[in-house]
Amino acid sequence: MTILDMNVAELKQRLKSRDLSSSELVEASYARIAETEASIQAFLTLDEDRARTAAKAWDEQYAKGEADSLLAGLPIGIKDNIVTDGLRTTCASRFLENFVPVYDSSVSRKLKEAGAITIGKLNMDEFAMGGSNENSAYQTTRNPWDTNRVPGGSSGGSAASVAALQVPFSLGSDTGGSIRQPASYCGIVGLKPTYGRVSRYGLVAFASSLDQIGPLTRTVEDAAHVLQAIAGYDQMDSTSANVEVSSYPSALTGDVKGLRIGVPKEYMGEGVDPVVKAKIMEALKVYESLGATWEEVSMPHTEYAVAAYYLLASSEASSNLARFDGVRYGVRASSPDNLLDLYVKSRSEGFGQEVKRRIMLGTYALSSGYYDAFYLKAQKVRTLIKRDFDEALSRYDILLAPTAPTTAFKIGEQVDNPLQMYMNDILTIPVSLAGVPAISIPCGLADGLPVGLQLIGKPFDEAGLLKAAHAYEQHTEHHKLRPQL
């Protein structure tokens, strides 16, 4: 097995016993990127010099027997909407083509403290708006399982990079499914923590009431390790929750006897591909064999989630993206007539089509005369959707469903139809609106493409969610499948 296919525990053990150095690991990562990047195109920026320096420093710590931190000397890739001090952060937008942050996001700071070494910044849909990476202003990342297909999105680079063994794990962000859906398409693990579990300080805001950072990994245990490093209250983000962080890796006992699983029937409806449903039914059999029980549950407002989400997320985006005005950073149009013209021209030149479309939709939904009909209405429907979850999660320990209605689609297939594209998120969006945690884990292949199993947990019970996911993983082989590159 290549060292890049090892999990966190194996890598740490090898580094500790000094069979392996952090420098070797970082070099292996860059070598793998050089070898596969022409076909995958996951990275927008590499941070080679600093990564090599950091690896040497960790090697010295290991030599002294002093490298005790959680991810000491391990490489990581970071989605390009997470601010990294001194490392270009573009959000895959022309607007921020030359933007080099002067501070670290809280997750970057925490990762550094935990010892992780940033390899580079990963491609995404511009400002995290999209589900295919086709909205990147720079490149379309390819799915390692079939390079004619999308990796999903918006954290498509983060997912493809981990699936292609370029890095052992990465960070992504999830607003309506942007960690879980690409994890599903690329056959890896993607965890969206509870809203508020991870600080958003330094995450370039798309929809502030929904955005959440989380890990993309190849095993559930690795997701537990990475979450451990980044979770917790942060005084720099007043929406981060002051809720105790438990030990996630130690929750992974493999025991799910007596676990009560609810299967929302609306998540197994008409729009879901039969090959996907078949994989979910197989997964339920595995849980049954492990002593869990399941029954169908109804979440009647599911069908309204996509409509509510696009109004709310776009409204928040139109407000958040008002900061891109060409004055303090980013693109500035040349020779504007006046200050207003500077704003208008800079924004019109800097933003791509999907970003403009959502700003337009959000501005309309918030504008005078339409606020009640669209924005307020959507907020009320959000309450109904949240109630569905409150009720279902009071009766079951976890909910189980597909992550996405289909496997990865072909590049170009949906670009002209935004509404069709939005429907890929139909099974992840309700979870985001309710703010509860969810994880996508591999549950087999359909026609050679990965299918994702989505588990949904109680607020702040990431430990229970990871435990349930891990038990399944330990009794199946799906997470060991690798794409042929």
Binding site: Y310, R328, L339, K356, M360, Y364, S367
Partner: protein
């Protein structure tokens, strides 16, 4: 409910965007498709439902107004497209 070209132009002005005429036409069609879909929300009676702005109980967070470490002027100006003497330079606002 459907929107017209003049609505698209009005919203673009509010959003500080300048759209080419083919962009306006494209957005008109796409926004109408999305808004027609959103009309689905009106199937639900929400008269007695409170809006959710946030899933967590959010409170104002206050702290003592004490001076603490912050970015230097040089750092703040590092990404400025144009600057003059530590300030962001923009076209004249007053004649």
């Amino acid at each position: 409910m459907s929107i017209r070209l003049e609505n698209v132009e009005h919203v673009a002005r509010l959003a500080r965007l300048e759209l080419a005429s083919e962009e306006k036409d494209r957005f008109l069609g796409q926004l109408n498709a999305i808004l027609n879909y959103a009309d689905k929300l009106n199937e639900l009676n929400t008269d007695d439902v409170a809006p959710t702005t946030h899933v967590l109980p959010i409170h104002n967070v206050l702290r003592d107004d004490k001076v603490r470490e912050s970015l230097t002027i040089e750092q703040v100006m590092k990404n400025a497209p144009e600057e003059e003497e530590g300030q962001f330079l923009v076209p004249a606002v007053l004649e």
